[in-house]
Amino acid sequence: MGFVAIKGGEEAIKNSLAFYEEEINLNQKIDAFAIENSLRYGVDKVISEGSLYSKKLSAQAILKAGGDLLNASFFLRAHRSSCARAGIAKTIHTDEMRVVRRISSAFKDIKGGQILGPSGDYEVKLILTKTIDKTVWDDYKNDDIFVESALKPLRDANMIKTLPKDEHISDITRVFPSAPYPRSAVMQIMARGESGSMLAFAYTSMRGYGDVHPTIGDLRLGRSEVKFTHPFTKNEVKIGEIDITACEAAATFEKQSDGSTKLTTGFGCCFGFNETKAISMSILDTTLYNKSHTIGQGGIADNFEMIVHHIDGIESQGFTNHYKLPHYVTFQADLQVYENAKKYLSIGEKK
């Protein structure tokens, strides 16, 4: 079969884009600032999966994508690649986070207490127009809340399993590693992974493909300071504050190679208020590094190749959607192979 180069569809593409813009043109009446301050969980999902902390651009991307959050993340990821990198900020320690929500299902009485924060967890899932009775906030204390992880006392008592530290921190945006994957690369991949994919893989470990029943040792949502170095004074300078979610899952006690028995845990941490994602990440971290949770013939969530290569939303969306682009030649070749096979089969039968 010969190769035929074709071109065309330019007018159709231009009109399609115009049609698309008209379909969502009411977005011009919506202020991006309103999106940023009302649909905050959508905005936070986009900054986390787009791997670029910019609430302003996230809100604009949501509008531009007509509310398609995966597509909005794509806009953010693309924007990220167009900006020069100024450097590396100081490391954030989640124990220094200014907390707005803190839950531990492992311990009732914990230092710092259980703090529900802003949450819709406790509402009845009925679409009704209702107003919660206003709280008189002045009746409550105005103390700052900084709390260490509820698992810290166990960690200090050397009861928690540790993993080797990477000497060099991987940056998958520069070099995507090959197996065996450094822990820092795996964690970065998960921190920018797609929430739904991570949830699904984490869920497999709870149902037919694993036996993880984690307890949330500590879940914290709050604000952390971003610090850098002033180029002229060379002193530390605060750049801003970012919302983050951190989760530590506690799994089970496991015998170690040195004969001791330690509690296995997993850590999840990502940009924005994305607690389902952070919990899923902590479960995947547990399953990946603690094979004792796998039952049967091998799991899904304990497989590095499976997780590392399948949870990025932008990549998986791109690969899946590319199949709708012209594959005329590929498919014609498939048909021709089939026709040829039939022909050779009939020749063989005649002989």
Binding site: Y53, K56, A84, Q114, T135, W137, S184, A191
Partner: protein, 143 residues
């Protein structure tokens, strides 16, 4: 107040007051923009409690500006503000340069001090809401 405090505090300042101060400075001093406000990213490491190592959670969008006050090479000003904020970055870089050169220091400190009060007030209001959601366990039954 330290010069390094300005970068964050002035991001929270009343924008019209900051702009007013910038215009006042610009009218009296020769401000040379060495690097116009430009979007950059900062890679953000997170401490991993399990390995005691670190990993990158992603990047932050920042807007960076470098200026110089007059012809004095030692009086450069810099700002790196969160998100896409060109004017804010420029105005803060000018305040940073002036503060370092002891120019308009009182006015800059006054605006920063006023802003700090507002930051603290808003933080206290937020803290009250957060503290209002603290769980108090009541014993329902005892065997």
């Amino acid at each position: 107040m330290l010069r390094e405090d300005l970068n964050f505090i002035l991001q929270k300042a009343d924008f019209s007051l900051l702009e007013e101060l910038y215009n006042k400075i610009k009218n009296e001093l020769n401000i040379v923009v060495l690097q116009s406000p430009v979007q950059q990213t900062l890679l953000q490491p997170i401490f991993d409690p399990i390995s005691k190592g670190e990993f990158y959670a992603g990047e932050l969008l920042v807007t960076t500006t470098i200026i110089q006050v007059g012809n004095d090479l030692s009086s450069k000003g810099w700002a790196m503000v969160q998100d896409d904020n060109e004017k804010l970055s420029l105005y803060i870089a000018v305040c940073d340069g002036c503060f370092g050169a002891n120019l308009f220091k009182e006015e800059i400190e006054a605006l920063a001090a006023k802003t700090v009060q507002n930051i603290q007030k808003l933080q206290k209001e937020l803290n009250k809401k957060v503290n209002a959601t603290r769980v108090n366990f009541d014993l329902m039954a005892q065997g």
